[in-house]
């Protein structure tokens, strides 16, 4: 009798499980940004790319550990230094049922490197994609290029037949005023199918039952609602109108975490915050005199005078990690030996200043954004106070990012706050090419203040074409060592990324701040 009852219970349990599997699992979430366009090649915005990744697949993608793994391409090899051969996955179907072949890859890459495509800079080293057979494609490059896979992990593959049928072969572009069918519609191979896209209102996706990969998620539907301001977004979570918010504002984490039904997940982000310095002949803050920051001892003094622990505790509420280098631990080129800030010591700072011939300090500008990085304004206010204690006269100015970055770009600043996450390639080369190399041609795009060190230029150029990975990483580490030894930048901290969600939801948080809902579980 007992046996029969137990079997009955087991059967009921099985039924419940079966019913649970068929049940709708909707995840409603919100962020401050919104999808700018559905056309993957018509923008360069990381949040929009992030959302596209749910609908479109790239040839290679990042796994749970942010390592590159096969997606629509199953394998690849370097045929010649400037020719890579990719073998494509077979049996993949687009959402409208069209089969995925080499033609789609060629059409996508051609569309991406079209002069009218806004995103063509994302794949600037590729000159053509050539079909070898139905499931083999060659990528032709301008020269040896070690980061092709990194680039391709952000390039989504579209369907040739769909583009042609909808007159969307030419990418949409702001400047020409071209808006295509693909700007508001999508047909990818990804884990979710777009149902509704209403800009600034809602985007709804349903699970793709025919996805080529075995889903690690249990969602049937995603409802995304952008909410611009922090307070209403938190309110929407607490009132149960959304299930998750990413990111969650730092000042509300304690409140959300204290509520019974919610949890907060924090991870160190890839984004490191540092201060850039003026390396030119004169300071903006004190024109007509030689620039004290040309002297390594002065730069080191500035570093010694920053009390990172206090900033970490008070300004960042204990959520950040102090750093001594310019890339985060998961990034190629990182070395733990370099990741040690100069010790906070006002006396050391004063002594170094005196040794350099500035016993009474000097005058400098400090420019900061107030809406770009977490607590950026407060960080700068704190640093200005700390430098004042070391005898330096600081002229602090904080402003919105829309006016701040043009100012920095024009080199009109002496000391400026900057965050760098090495995205999208997730590689130390991003720092070397944009920040460390002298500003020439396409290199040094974010080096506006005259930093020029032949050793850094040389390492950047050589690492750009080095296909031997250990050698390449050693070069990047060497460049970062020079930067630390010379105190060319003053690294501050690694930003946290925090998401808040209902306790019933499991979503892994990634250091690149990407939301990857194909790993989400709703219980």
């Amino acid at each position: 009798m007992a046996m029969v009852r137990m079997m009955g219970l087991a059967a009921a349990g099985l039924l419940a499980i079966a019913a649970g599997a068929a049940e709708a699992k909707t995840l409603r979430w919100s962020s401050q940004g919104d999808i700018a366009t559905m056309d993957p090649y018509a923008h360069t915005e990381s949040f929009t790319s992030n959302m596209h990744h749910h609908i479109y697949d790239p040839l290679v993608r990042r796994n749970k550990d942010l390592q590159i793994e096969p997606a629509l391409a199953t394998s690849w090899r370097i045929v010649e230094p400037n020719r890579w051969r990719f073998t494509l996955r077979q049996g993949v179907k687009f959402h409208n049922g069209n089969p995925f072949t080499a033609d789609d890859v060629v059409a996508s890459i051609t569309r991406l490197i079209h002069p009218g495509a806004r995103a063509r800079g994302n794949l600037s080293n590729v000159t053509a994609a050539e079909k070898v057979d139905d499931f083999t494609v060659d990528f032709v490059l301008t020269g040896p290029y070690p980061l092709l896979l990194n680039d391709l992990s952000g390039i989504f593959i579209m369907n040739k037949a769909w583009l042609e049928a909808n007159n969307a072969v030419v990418p949409g572009n702001t400047t020409t005023g071209v808006t295509t069918f693909a700007s508001t519609n999508a047909n990818g191979t990804g884990p979710f199918v777009l149902e509704t896209y209403q800009p600034d209102n809602r985007t709804i996706m349903n699970v793709n039952p025919n996805w080529w990969d075995k889903p690690a998620h249990n969602l049937t539907r995603i409802e995304f609602r952008p909410i611009r301001s922090d307070a209403p977004r938190v309110a929407a979570l607490l009132s149960g109108e959304i299930d998750m918010m990413a990111p969650a504002p730092l000042q509300d984490l304690a409140r959300i975490g204290a509520a019974d039904a919610f949890k907060v997940i924090e991870e160190p982000s890839l984004r490191l915050i540092f201060l850039g310095l003026n390396h030119r002949a004169e300071l903006q803050g004190d024109p007509g005199k030689p620039n004290p920051m040309k002297d390594r001892r002065v730069r080191q003094a500035l570093w010694h005078a920053v009390d990172l622990d206090t900033i970490q505790r008070r300004v960042m509420r204990g959520k950040s990690r102090n750093v001594g280098t310019m890339v985060a631990p998961p990034i190629p080129g990182y070395s733990a030996d370099l990741d040690k800030p100069l010790a906070f010591n006002v006396d050391t700072a004063k002594k170094l200043l005196a040794d350099a011939g500035y016993p009474n300090g000097f005058k400098t500008k400090l420019d900061c954004s107030n809406d770009r990085y977490i607590a950026d304004e407060q960080t700068c206010v704190a640093i200005a106070a700390m430098w004042t204690r070391a005898g330096i006269q600081v002229d602090l100015k904080t402003q919105s990012r829309t006016t701040y970055f043009p100012l920095v770009d024009k080199g009109e600043s002496d000391v400026y706050i900057l965050g760098w996450a090495t995205l999208p390639p997730m590689d130390g080369y991003s720092v070397a090419s944009a920040l460390l190399h002298s500003k020439t041609g396409s290199l040094g795009g974010n080096n506006p203040n005259g930093l020029s060190d032949p050793r850094l230029d040389d390492l950047t150029k050589r690492s750009a074409v080095e296909l031997d990975e250990p050698k390449r990483r050693a070069m990047l580490t060497e460049a970062l060592k020079i930067v630390r030894d010379e105190a060319y930048f003053i690294p501050l901290h690694q930003q946290p990324v925090a998401w808040a969600m209902k306790k019933s939801i499991e979503v892994p948080v990634f250091a690149d701040e990407y939301v990857r809902l194909w790993f989400a579980q709703v219980n």
């Binding site: 056309d39 360069t44 006016t403």
Partner: protein, 323 residues
């Protein structure tokens, strides 16, 4: 009347040109769209090329000329942010804002006028005094505070009403309406109350002051002396005359409401034009900003013109003076 309209139309054009010119001068200080549109590690050449393609390398005066030329042809350009035609974006957002403003205005009139009349008729009663006191709070609390407090009470604690968005909408031609669904109506409550609060206080105080003024005038005293019923005096004689300035103010306030809706729409993530503008500002989306300012300018002048016309219709003395 025709001359009045014509001269007004000419003024409209002048005002619009001035608004656009001022907007273009301000645009130089809001930031650089090229920076925001580019990848973080975009090269200098890439940025320069984009700047040239957007026409932002030309002097401001040339950009202004081009803009006016395009607008004259009915082309408002494309948004830098989502690359869609600005005219379409505005048309898409207009219903949300207008419905919100309509409800808020009705709310303000339906609550404000009776309260004002009541306070005028019983100026020394304790209820009038407390209404007056509370109205001070209404007039001095910033909209975003009211909005957040309402969200906290009715969404987070009581969970009665949605805290953001417009709910489900029904499409009628190009217009989308939230009036026809339950969730649409529920979503309207908090934002429209927030938006109306200031107006309620304003209209109430205005009606009260005007009523007190009219009630102490000679013809009301005559009417009282004639022994006319007090209901007739208050409604037909006093209120009707007291409402004249209310018409003006309400008309002008509709314009202000559409403009002030920026804050309310941001707090409630209301997908209207205010939100569109705020997003455009943070993205330095110049075409959208320019078009929005142009639109708001046009709206203000049009409303002003309409109010003048309505005045002329309501008050025969003005009509003769106009001729």
């Amino acid at each position: 009347m025709a001359r009045l309209l014509l001269s007004r139309l000419f003024q409209v054009l002048l005002v619009m040109m001035a608004v656009t010119a001022v907007a273009f001068i301000i645009f130089r200080y809001v930031g650089d769209p090229v920076n925001i549109m580019s990848r973080e590690d975009a090269s200098v050449a890439e940025k320069a090329e984009l700047r040239a393609a957007l026409g932002l390398d030309a002097p401001v005066i040339v950009q202004f000329g081009r803009f006016v030329g395009r607008v004259a042809q009915g082309d408002l350009g494309n948004s830098f942010r989502n690359q869609r035609p600005v005219a379409g974006l505005i048309a898409e957002r207009l219903p949300a804002t207008l419905e919100l403003v309509l409800v808020a205005t009705l709310l303000a009139l339906l609550v404000g006028i009776p309260l004002g009349v009541f306070c005028a008729l019983k100026p020394h009663g304790w209820l009038s005094r407390s209404i007056q006191a509370v109205s001070l709070v209404g007039i001095s609390t910033p909209t975003f505070v009211t909005g957040i407090v309402l969200i906290l009470i009715f969404s987070v604690w009581l969970k009665w009403l949605p805290s953001f968005g417009r709910g489900d909408v029904v499409r009628l031609g190009w217009w989308t309406t939230g009036f026809l669904t339950t969730s649409g109506l529920r979503s309207l409550v908090l934002p429209s109350v927030t938006l109306a609060l200031f107006q309620v206080t304003l209209i109430m105080r205005l009606v009260r002051a005007e009523m007190l003024d009219v009630l102490s005038s000679d013809y009301i005293r005559y009417a009282r002396a004639r022994g006319l019923p007090s209901g007739y005096i208050h409604r037909k004689l006093a209120l009707k005359n007291a409402l004249m300035p209310v018409i003006t103010v309400t008309g002008l306030q509709i314009g202000a409401l559409i403009a002030f809706a920026i804050v309310t729409e941001t707090v409630f993530q209301w997908p209207g034009m205010g939100l569109l503008f705020i997003q455009a500002v943070s993205f330095v989306d110049l075409p959208v900003m320019a078009a929005y300012l142009l639109f708001v300018g046009a709206m203000f002048v049009t409303i002003n013109m309409l109010v003048d016309v309505v005045y002329a219709i309501v008050d025969p003395r003005l009509r003769t003076a106009g001729k």
